[in-house]
Symmetry: C2
Subunit: 358 residues, 2 copies
């Protein structure tokens, strides 16, 4: 079975095997070495000299941590949304009492930095900008570099959902001045789900020291002080850390620059070959190199297509979410993936499409 949803992604055998190791004491020396090694490697991949902390949670937990550690109820935030995950990030901030101004862009398009700039110029009350780097629901990658530049120009805190981009799409955290950046183990990191990884800048820590939203499990200050001892505040997902350690070694072997280039090649190939099939891409611009969203032809039944792909051709693709349900399908291509995987999917799609007519 080839799993090509936009997460969880397939784990290489090394990661699956690494999980077979017996548990260790999370307050002991062996664990200390493990978490410090992983943290060091993560910092290279985040391209940051600042802190990276590991939480036992899904990516959504990491997003909640980014918010509750840096904001207070009543703080005004500008939440850019270009799809379901932008909506989610915004919803979390709203749930915890932030005054959220949501800046929605058409699904299938990227956020426009000039619109962001106008809002920041017009409203000095805005404390933070929240943005999804790569929107999995629509297959669009925001121009985070440009958005970061604007946020920094207006001296705003910048919270980034990089769950489905980091380690696949270039994101130099320090260079772009991203204050809090969140990713998760089951995406480009080729590990099982269960860990969220969060970087935080000096400015981010300053916000933490003032932030009044209630927090305990997600407390990043506590995570930092435990990390100094080579520990986590709460019992961590040890076997997932074993897997992540092994995939980080693979990633270091390939090199971040090469990984990013491979994702460009894979993304290009997916788009080219999808269009060769006579299908059209859902995004109108800013195509993602980790997930390709494809319009379902009007004579094809979406459910039948996904079922045929899975049952007959052993390839698991994703459907559309929310308002895109039944209208698009999505190919995840992040992490452990090459151009040959795309070719296999195309061969299968070519057969499955005519077999999935309404």
């Amino acid at each position: 079975m080839q799993l090509r949803v936009p997460g969880p992604t397939p784990c290489p055998p090394q990661a699956l095997e690494a999980q077979g190791k017996e548990m260790i004491n999370h307050r002991g020396e062996e664990f200390r070495k493990l978490i410090l090694d992983i943290t060091w490697s993560l910092k290279q991949m985040f391209q940051t000299q600042d802190d990276v902390l590991i939480l036992t949670a899904s990516g959504t937990g990491g997003l909640e941590a980014a918010i509750v550690n840096t904001l207070s109820p009543g703080d005004k935030v500008l939440a850019l949304s270009i799809g379901a995950f932008g909506d989610r990030f915004s919803d979390i901030a709203h749930n915890f009492g932030a005054e959220v101004e949501k800046l929605d862009f058409e699904w299938g398009r990227a956020a426009h930095p000039e619109v962001v700039e106008k809002r920041l110029k017009d409203d000095s009350r805005i404390k933070a900008v929240m943005v999804t780097h790569n929107e999995t629901s629509t297959g669009v990658t925001n121009d985070l570099e440009a958005i970061s530049r604007v946020a920094k120009e207006y001296d705003k805190l910048l919270l980034v959902d990089a769950v489905s981009s980091l380690s696949c799409i270039d994101l130099p955290v320090d260079l772009w001045g991203c204050d809090v950046v969140v990713t998760a183990s089951q995406k480009g990191w080729m590990s099982p789900p269960g860990l969220a990884m969060v970087s935080i800048s000096e400015r981010g820590w300053k916000a933490v020291s003032e932030a009044q939203m209630p927090r305990y499990y997600w407390d990043l200050s506590r995570a930092r002080s435990f990390l100094e001892k080579g520990q986590t505040p709460w019992t961590p997902a040890i076997s997932t850390l074993y897997a992540l350690y092994s995939t980080l070694k693979l990633m270091e072997g390939e090199g971040l620059a090469n990984i990013i280039k491979r994702h460009v090649r894979v993304g290009d190939r997916a788009r080219m070959r999808i269009e060769e099939l006579g299908l059209s891409l859902f995004p109108k611009e800013a195509y993602s190199n980790t997930v390709t969203a494809v319009n379902i032809p009007s004579d094809v039944d979406s459910r039948k297509l996904l079922t045929t792909m899975r049952r007959k051709y052993n390839i698991v693709l994703a459907g559309g979410q929310q308002r895109l349900s039944g209208k698009i399908f999505r190919i995840g291509h992040m992490g452990w993936v090459g151009e040959e995987d795309i070719d296999q999917i195309i061969v299968a799609l070519k057969k499955a499409l005519p077999e999935s007519k309404r």
Copy 2:
């Protein structure tokens, strides 16, 4: 290496092997079957007909979920504490704005139901009682049956930290009327850390419908509605679920009643053999059957003892936490453990103690 800290506990080979299975789509049919099967099995072990929900988190995340789903800021709660984990449960409620009345009992003793009753009788403002079933830091098990009876008599919500008891020590959730009960995969469940499991009663759901504490990741209502589709709201720790599925099968094979009896035998043996060595137990009453806390003789160096046990005899024990640091050591004996494991530890302790003089 024999890992005998009070969690993480050793995983049987079946659990480690189960984790080697490749990832699956968490929105697909195979996952649906997995989570529904696991949930069904968990309900047997919780002895409940009500809901059991699985969160991707450590046990502490489950405790936070219990609080933020059922309480509002300003709600008065009576938090019983007999050690570090009782303190933690209380701290979380405080952080989220509950008015916490903390009822501290001497470390090494259990909570006294008659003291609880007096407080409930005297203060009708108390909405909920929070209690740790088994206090890992001191090796004491509270008389949850008696505490439940009092809480129910006064019609209070009862939130239970059963992280280190459930599946080892009898806890008939429905019979005792426990409204929210939290446990975690790396304890008696013999799986790696990364999953918290939370049961919730009808009365618990009523509290959820009124509770105003902010929540998103921990939202149990959302977890319930996704579970109806055989899903979780956020990407779950799939490999840890594979492990848990396999250990639940082992547990069903042995039978809950037998598992509980085995823990009684193991606990009895640990206490008897520790006292035979001339050591004294830290608790003064209500000895736990999942963790034994032992006073360190005045002529023994605690750090030297733990290091000798680990390096020379390949057995990892735990030290004391917080105020008990350096004063006690703890033997975890929950989950995958038998009397022969205790005997091995005793043989090693007999040698290590004279080798660890101050």
